[in-house]
Point group: C2
Chain length 410, copies 2
């Protein structure tokens, strides 16, 4: 008989990605870094296998007055942090409407609070069937109904017809639904919805919102935004969230983890967009309440780093470092895509982000075979996630060759 | 019609302590630090009004390899962090049984997860009626039933009889209950349960646990542990959590915020104690699931600071700094208690922690009067919380004199 309540009793074992990453680190310890390919964890490593910590970001921490690290941040986040999050997130494509940001621990906290505050127990969260596992776990934690639709057509384009069917079905059975889309640079696939695909999504959701008894929330996870384009073009879709119907609410999950190589500092924000001032005030009160009740307030140093980075002299350096990171990642992806073609390895079209994806129903077997060769990747029912963010360019041809060997053999 | 679900719709306005602290800061901006007494927020300030950031703690951050700041911590926390938390928390008074620590953002995350995993909806959390407001808020967030009992007898001793009645009543109506006690150095009162009072609590709970259909969880918030004694004597009660019955589970909420002047780094842990290995494994799985679903993982730098502080050469410096802090706080408290006697100001006996407390049913009026004199404190239905942690010793006589003036007048 467990002491924990039924809903909080789990036999999941350790988190898969972190667990495989531990195995990879043990292999590195044993065989040396050169002998191991660790494509498990979503962290940017340089070509020597060392985690990248952008100097522009961590120089700010070094020079920060200790009182700005030690002190509490406000519950909802520093005022300037909240403003800068909105400005830098949307860039020139800020949607028209009322917008507010509430600080959260990474993107996780933002997604958690959007699901907690905008879906009731049993209400459906509609998500693509290639997805970051914590989305499902969050729904399980809070008794929300996690439902997936087929992300892709046979030729790996966004399956808008199936998406519409899933939303239709959800909204038929429930007065509240949420749609969660992780784009651009989707984890685990590397896919980005095109602006035309976003148009279809938003037009459809607006249509559904004509029934004023329905409450629809669109949650957009943009964790990989800075690594899925040139820094500008991939933001255009934000503009489409302008002038929403009152009963269509958008929450964008912002995270400093990837864009600022600040994974361990746990800083992000939930950014709400609505045509109604009242709906935004309600968002602020609800998310601040959740903040107070779950983590109290955010990592103050991280918020202050973002504020300091906004100074012109710092911003210029950060932006150049970001361009370099993007180019490094793009270069790895290019080598991967070329090698995949050469090795006849089917992959989902890569548009950006930290991962490429090999669709296969034998992923768990293949990943085990690869582990014997000290190659570490993440398996799922749909295929293999390959964290190219963590693999130096010169190791990628071998990585692809071995992936192709096992995948085409099975 | 709100977009948020009913349970997540709040009209609370801003958090009281942070809001009054904002007012205090505005007054300092306007009138200068000398003219203002800010006894609102639970943060240690030196006698000049500057937040204290212990050199031993922040020197570790300065010298830390950036990769140890930037990288993710494991979901449940660094292995060494989890071990050191247990060792330093209990010191020589480690209870017998299975013990495990799961990293959380501050003490808040630990209390949140204990309440979430060990109480079902509607189950009672029994708490003293002087309490840190987020306890109640957490219960409201998750639909748990927050119930209070009279903390004190008329002569301000722990009201064990009323405590027993409250537990009895809770356990009569529900198969699960939790008891939350914030001691030593209770926030807001400064009260600490004596070892004899703890004996009575634990003997009683063990007695209740003889009914094997009941599941009882004792949550102990020890945020102010390091400021309520000599560093040792106030830990003795931990030993009493040895050899618990299987259906009596203890969670101790550890926090680095106060003990390490690391409020803004958001690092703590939930420490579970049980006589059953199975119950502890279930605790680990449950709290790790909640971590993944709410904040993902903890602030890595903070965990690494605690690990580095364990080295003998660092530990010695930290421990001396902590002694100095304790003495500073004790000295302020002594001045407060003496002045209270002189001014015939009734206060709850102070045993430690960041706060003294003036019982009165006119707290909101008095606090407003004090604000006009640029003295900032926190009112509640039960009285006035005075954050002596934030007030230099030389300002305390005036603070007490003005508190007495308004309290004795009303």
């Amino acid at each position: 008989m467990p002491m924990t309540i039924k809903r909080a009793t789990w036999n999941n074992g350790p988190d898969l990605a972190f667990d495989i990453n531990n195995k990879a680190n043990a292999a590195i310890e044993k065989y040396g870094r050169e002998a191991v390919i660790n494509a498990a964890l979503g962290t940017l490593l340089d070509d020597k296998g060392k985690i990248i910590a952008l100097p522009s970001v961590y120089d700010r921490l070094d020079e920060m007055d200790r009182s700005h690290i030690a002190s509490y941040a406000p519950i909802e986040g520093e005022k300037d942090y909240r403003k800068i999050v909105i400005d830098t997130l949307f860039g020139p494509y800020k949607p028209e409407g009322y917008i507010s940001a509430i600080a959260t621990p990474g993107g996780t906290g933002a997604i958690r609070s959007a699901i907690f505050s905008y879906l009731d127990e049993g209400d459906p969260l509609i998500c693509h069937d290639y997805y970051w596992a914590p989305y499902r776990k969050i729904c399980e934690e809070f008794g929300r109904n996690f439902k997936t639709f087929e992300f892709f057509t046979d030729d790996f384009a966004f399956n808008i017809d199936v998406y519409k069917e899933a939303i239709d079905e959800g909204i038929r059975d429930s007065d509240r639904i949420a749609s969660l889309i992780n784009s651009p640079g989707n984890n685990p696939t590397g896919y980005s919805l095109s602006d035309e695909e976003w148009d279809e999504v938003i037009t459809f959701l607006k249509e559904k919102a004509e029934d004023k008894d329905k409450k629809i929330t669109l949650i957009v996870d943009v964790a990989y935004l800075e690594f899925a384009g040139d820094g500008d073009q991939q933001r255009k879709f934000f503009e489409k969230f302008s002038n929403l119907p009152r009963n269509l609410f958008v929450v964008v999950a912002f995270s400093m983890s990837k864009s600022h190589t600040a994974y361990g500092l746990r800083s992000g924000a939930a950014v709400g967009i609505s045509s109604s001032k009242e709906i935004i005030e309600e968002f602020e009160a609800s998310l601040a309440h959740s903040a107070r009740c779950n983590w109290s307030n955010g990592t103050h140093a991280a918020q202050n780093i973002l504020i300091e980075l906004e100074r012109a002299e710092n911003k210029k350096i950060y932006e150049q470092e970001l361009v370099d990171l993007r180019n490094m990642l793009k270069s790895r992806a290019d080598v991967f895509v070329t090698a995949a073609k050469e090795n006849k390895l089917t992959m989902i079209p890569y548009f950006g982000g930290f991962f490429t994806f090999i669709p296969t129903d034998k992923a768990f077997d293949i990943v085990k075979d690869l582990e014997k060769e000290n190659i570490f990747t993440i398996p799922s029912a749909k295929g293999i996630r390959v964290a190219i963010c963590g693999v130096g360019e010169e190791k990628i041809p071998k990585l692809v060759q071995r992936l192709a060997f096992y995948t085409n053999k099975k």
